[in-house]
């Protein structure tokens, strides 16, 4: 059975997630009373405040939650795949690959499912590249891996900038979206939330195998994991989750790095707790970060990627320094 400590942790994260959404609905350039928010959600109120809650804040909060959860779970999967707790879809250039895929598809006039499909191809190609070049002589080298990831990310950033420079303006929905991550253009939210639910469930199915793969491929094989098909499943799932996040909100950085690390502090290394914990905390933190991004300099809105980077970069450096000791 799941331990009491883990059950309490997950319950606390559910409450945090609910609280983050509540804050996102109440706070903004127009403060709306919590009771008015409740009325708007119950669909019993009309007026401007109700429209703001239903049409603007709720979809945006749902998109933020889904994107954060997707990135955090993708981070957990990437970290097992490359056996490095500093891995993250953004740092390793996976998000950049997805952005290039999606942007390329939009530039040639594609629409509908072709855009996330192209994002998936970009993310998978990027992951394959990092996996192929990140190890030398069969052994993972943490520094080499991060170096390859950073260079790949820089390359994709240049391709994105090039595409934006030559693209006709009306095809694009704001430039920063693709380079920095921004939730102000996201709409709907149901699709992203569905992707998170399916993706997190799939990761949960793999959870015990992830526990063993984290100790190394040989170790996992000795304990009965069919390593090659399992790694392929993790690879495809991490790429798909990253692609779903990037098509929703562009390349938001560091959620996939910071969140698994924070959850591990409380949960330990068991992925049966780490995966749902990361989905909940990732979602909650991105909702809060986005609320901060749109209220800090209100009425001006910051891209949420600025906030996550300002928090994520120092934390990444601290973790790196601690590891090399």
């Amino acid at each position: 059975m799941i331990g009491t400590r883990h059950a309490v942790l997950l319950a606390a994260l559910v409450l945090l997630a609910a609280a983050s959404i509540a804050i996102a609905l109440v706070v903004g350039s127009v403060a709306i009373h919590p009771l008015a928010v409740l009325d708007a959600l119950r669909d019993s109120a009309g007026g401007l405040d109700a429209d703001i809650v239903r049409e603007l804040r709720l979809p945006r909060a749902v998109n933020a939650f889904a994107t954060g959860g997707l990135l955090a779970v993708a981070g957990v999967l990437m970290q097992v795949l490359v056996r490095n707790p500093l891995a993250d879809p953004y740092v390793l250039g996976i998000s950049g690959g997805a952005a290039v895929g999606a942007l390329g598809a939009i530039l040639v006039g594609a629409a509908g499912l072709l855009v996330p499909g192209a994002a998936f191809v970009g993310a998978a190609a990027s992951t394959a590249l990092v996996l192929a070049l990140g190890r030398a002589g069969g052994a993972w080298m943490p520094t080499r891996l991060l170096l390859v990831g950073v260079i790949v990310a820089a390359g994709w950033g240049a391709v994105v900038t090039f595409m934006l420079a030559v693209a006709p303006d009306q095809r694009l929905r704001g430039m920063l979206f693709w380079l920095m991550g921004d939730l102000s253009h996201a709409s709907g939210g149901g699709i992203a939330l569905g992707a998170l639910a399916v993706g997190a469930a799939a990761a949960l199915v793999l959870a015990r195998k992830l526990n063993l793969l984290a100790h190394g491929d040989d170790r996992a094989a000795i304990l009965g994991v069919e390593v090659a098909p399992t790694r392929l499943a993790v690879f495809l799932l991490a790429s798909a989750l990253t692609a779903a996040a990037v098509t929703t909100a562009g390349t938001v950085g560091f959620i996939g790095l910071v969140v698994p690390h924070l959850v591990r502090l409380a949960s330990g290394e068991d992925h049966r707790v780490l995966v749902p914990g990361a989905a909940l905390l990732g979602g909650a933190l991105l909702v809060l970060a986005d609320t901060l991004a749109r209220t800090l300099l209100a009425p001006q809105q910051l891209p949420v990627g600025v906030v996550t980077a300002l928090v994520g970069v120092p934390l990444f450096l601290v973790l790196l320094a601690r590891r090399s000791r």
């Binding site: 490095n84 707790p85 993972w140 000795i222 304990l223 009965g224």
Partner: protein, 257 residues
């Protein structure tokens, strides 16, 4: 006659254009303790990894109790054979109990959590390697010898009939070398387990093993009961260095000349 616990049939193992063995026939029964001896780089680890199914044989097959290893599911393999790797690299800050409980994986139903019995088995294994009370310690905080004993505890918790051990005594001090080999050897009873271990120390092989498999390189091998195989002339040829036998109070001791 029942099938032996481990059988290698016409096994050929090669690595990087180097031949470890060709046409090797090996039969290991329960209760037997085999030493795999040879110079550095001759392919002891590669042979053990092949016997464990971690790498494909060049030719021939590995059979566990009559079932070809290749035909078994990963889970079924894990319940029958375990392996102590030469070294472990911990990238994540797992605790000692998490690492040992991982050994129970093949015994825990796919959708279940580890039971109280699994936890008890893990704790008992930690006690057998003299690490009681280490449950919540981080792997990264352990000494090399302590980390080694955690790996051995994980193998004991896995509880396979066939234990393949790659340098089980590495990182261990004199006392713990003897203590660990005592624990492992005690489990190899006529209806219990069988051990196949690569060792650097001929004297530990002489003391703890019933049989030895010598790898001379170039595919040449020799095998048999320890009293027959571990002879000064054979060992001198194996290590390309003169080895003398001294009969001491605890039995024969081999010393380099």
């Amino acid at each position: 006659m029942t099938a032996p616990l481990l059988e290698a049939r016409a096994l050929a193992v090669e690595i990087a254009a180097k031949t470890v063995c060709t046409d090797l026939a090996l039969r290991v029964a329960r209760g037997e303790r085999w030493a795999v001896l040879g110079v550095n780089g001759v392919g002891k680890t590669t042979l053990l990894r092949t016997l464990a199914g971690l790498r494909r044989a060049h030719a021939g097959e590995v059979v566990l109790e009559g079932d070809p290893l290749a035909a078994l599911t990963g889970r079924e393999r894990a319940r029958r054979r375990g392996m102590l790797l030469q070294s472990e690299h911990d990238e994540f800050e797992a605790t000692v109990i998490e690492a040992v409980l991982a050994g129970r994986h093949p015994h825990v139903a796919p959708w279940a959590w580890e039971s109280a019995a699994d936890l008890a088995a893990a704790r008992a294994a930690l006690k057998r390697v003299a690490l009681p009370g280490f449950d919540e310690r981080r792997l990264g905080s352990l000494s090399g010898g302590e980390r080694r004993r955690v790996s051995i505890a994980a193998l004991l918790a896995q509880d396979p009939a066939l234990m393949l051990l790659d340098e089980p005594t590495s990182h261990l001090d004199l006392h713990h070398q003897v203590a660990i080999l005592d624990v492992l050897a005690a489990s190899a009873t006529p209806h219990g387990k069988a051990l196949v271990m690569s060792l650097h120390d001929v004297n530990l092989a002489a003391r703890y093993c019933t049989h030895a498999l010598l790898l001379f390189g170039g595919g040449q091998t020799e095998q048999g009961p320890v009293p027959e195989v571990l002879a000064p002339a054979t060992l001198s040829r194996l290590y390309a260095h003169p080895v003398a036998r001294i009969d001491g109070p605890l039995g024969p001791v081999f010393a380099p000349g």
